[in-house]
Symmetry: C2
Subunit: 375 residues, 2 copies
């Protein structure tokens, strides 16, 4: 991973952004996936301070050894307590020391979507009284915007992560038997994921059988797999920090006509949405590609969530692929496409792939079969 290049890209964004006419002279990065993206540090507490000339990571004594091993493209400073407060003071001193470049009031940008009201108060309290009101400025998710477009190193890891997920699905098909608890399926899934090199799961695994498949977020329970009906498997692994995400719904026996027709409608919706993916298309258009198919099938109300979301260092990141979203897909984004239909007390179906956006269309990282599998 080329971290220096990413810090450079952040500086270019700083340069082309402004707050009420004042330049962004520095950025304070505290959201941990952003910190990892920019300098490689994977610890649980840190703040990265970036100015036009310098980048410095602040963390605490638990991470002395780990930070020295991991951090690239930034200086390192171990601090006794609150890393972000120290970083704010350091940034203020850097800005004060800089020769003015005709800038009335240069700002330290921070991300308001990942800064709590209490943190901001603490940062302000650490500054000289005269500078408390004016120095810190919310600048939107500059780093998250960069992170939406995956570089080749990232796509390579994500391809591997998705393939690991496909392998796990194949393994489960041979493992699953009626009468097993959903939790046993999850245990086997997560055990195999570890053995195959995953650092962990990217979210709590969903193993939802029979009527529980009608729960879009039906985490593995102690319920036993019934002899018939649907089983929804929605899971992802974390590989070198990157998340995978896939869903397949399989039938534990022969499906009824109604089950089959719902499955086919969801599959058609999923494939229509995947087919609509290409750089330059609005996210809302992709959502509508899926939603329109289910509407025509009379299942508009049964599809009770968005079509998908960006994925990368976080399991949910931008862009949101939902109804009416105007944001446009761009080459290098990775999004999930996961429409579903849910009938409370009866059953549900969801099918999900991870799709890389390219200039010529969407390319699926998930390669498991989507035709209805009868176990």
């Amino acid at each position: 991973m080329n971290h220096a290049k990413r810090v450079g890209a952040l500086r270019r964004r700083m340069h082309s952004s402004s707050v009420a006419g004042n330049s962004i002279a520095a950025v304070l990065v505290t959201h941990l996936p952003d910190v990892r993206y920019l300098c490689g540090f994977t610890g649980s507490s840190a703040a990265l301070a970036v100015t036009r000339r310098a980048a410095r990571l602040f963390t605490d004594g638990r991470y002395t050894v780990q930070a020295a091993e991991e951090v690239r493209g930034a200086q390192l400073e171990i601090v006794p307590s609150n890393a972000a407060v120290t970083a704010v003071r350091w940034l203020a001193a850097q800005l004060a020391a800089q020769v003015s470049v005709g800038d009335a009031s240069p700002k330290i940008g921070f991300d308001p979507t990942h800064t709590t009201v209490a943190e901001l108060e603490r940062w302000k309290a650490a500054l000289p009284v005269a500078r408390r009101r004016k120095l810190l400025a919310p600048v939107g998710s500059l780093v998250e915007q960069l992170r939406q477009i995956k570089d080749d190193d990232e796509l390579s890891v994500m391809t591997e992560a998705a393939a690991l997920g496909d392998g796990l699905f194949e393994h489960l098909l041979a493992f699953i038997r009626p009468g097993m608890a959903e939790a046993e399926v999850a245990a086997e899934l997560e055990y195999q994921a570890r053995l195959r090199g995953a650092e962990g799961m990217s979210f709590e695994s969903i193993v939802a059988s029979g009527p529980r498949s009608a729960l879009p977020h039906g985490r593995a329970s102690l319920a036993k797999l019934p002899k018939r009906g649907f089983l929804t498997l929605d899971f992802g692994v974390i590989l070198r920090g990157y998340c995978s995400d896939m869903t397949r719904t399989v039938c534990l026996d022969k499906p009824t006509d109604r089950e089959r027709s719902v499955y086919e409608a969801v599959l058609e919706a999923q494939e229509a949405a995947v087919a609509s993916v290409t750089a330059g298309v609005a996210c809302g258009t992709v959502d509508e590609a899926a939603r329109g198919v289910l509407r025509k099938a009379g299942m508009a109300d049964a599809f009770s969530h968005s079509t998908g979301h960006g994925v990368g260092l976080e399991i949910h990141e931008g862009p949101r692929v939902g109804a009416g979203q105007k944001e446009k897909l761009a080459s290098g984004m990775v999004v999930t496409i996961e429409p579903g239909a849910y009938f409370a007390g009866e059953f549900g179906v969801r099918i999900e792939d991870m799709i890389v956006v390219t200039r010529t269309g969407g390319c699926s990282l998930t390669t498991s079969p989507k035709a209805l599998i009868e176990l």
Copy 2:
């Protein structure tokens, strides 16, 4: 779990709190562990609005079935999008409809430590212009303060969670062999946890062997267990929502004299801190009990983190058991006691129990042996 009682306790806290002389007429709860604590809902997106008379949970269509099953002591409203924004509007309408009780400017309290700057802006924008500046008020972590004191239902689950952890440690002692990858140990640990009823792990399991034991947060890697040296196992399970947390450091062969003396010093520090736990004692005093032992042993610099933290629905919650912390322990709190000593490039040792605070002392939920184990 008696959710109605908890909402009642929150109302008493609202009643006895105020913001600049104005009463807290309502509270908006968006931090998910707080939501779960108050009404039982376990989904990933929700807002709970509590007034003096009513409580209403707002969530979206993914959770229609699940919320109806889980929510106790609150009305339920399924909303098409941003649950918190709808909750803010509902609260504002409730307050406007209430007959004034001699209250110039009743407030809707929110928790500034779990509300982002961007969320607060969105909530304000959802209110009539005249009320944007004055209606919402930060009121500290009212719910988190309640959650620090565990009730009997909670202590019962946490005792079970800690016992599950002890059973896993015992299992691993028989499983571990030199030459195995750390990740294999983590895989077995997490597989067994699932089979024994855990919903998942409460944090990324730490399996750190040989020189990696000097990393206080050394997550399981592909490194092979060496024939000799230390192995640190720090892990926890989630059982019915509640987290366990324990650490043991074992020796893969006979320890050297230096290894043994470091282990004994850490154990003495851990036991001194446990012995100092009792209701009414300041957290800083407990930290100093451990730190003082390591200081006398000439290892002050090697103990590079705090002594412990509260644990419950979250793996890290209040109180912080760190140097200089004035907050006092109270009966019903559950804290970890986990001093360690780390020597970069060489090895590290950490020993951790979960301790319930009572009026007569600390009672350990963790029961695994602490004398040095040589595998």
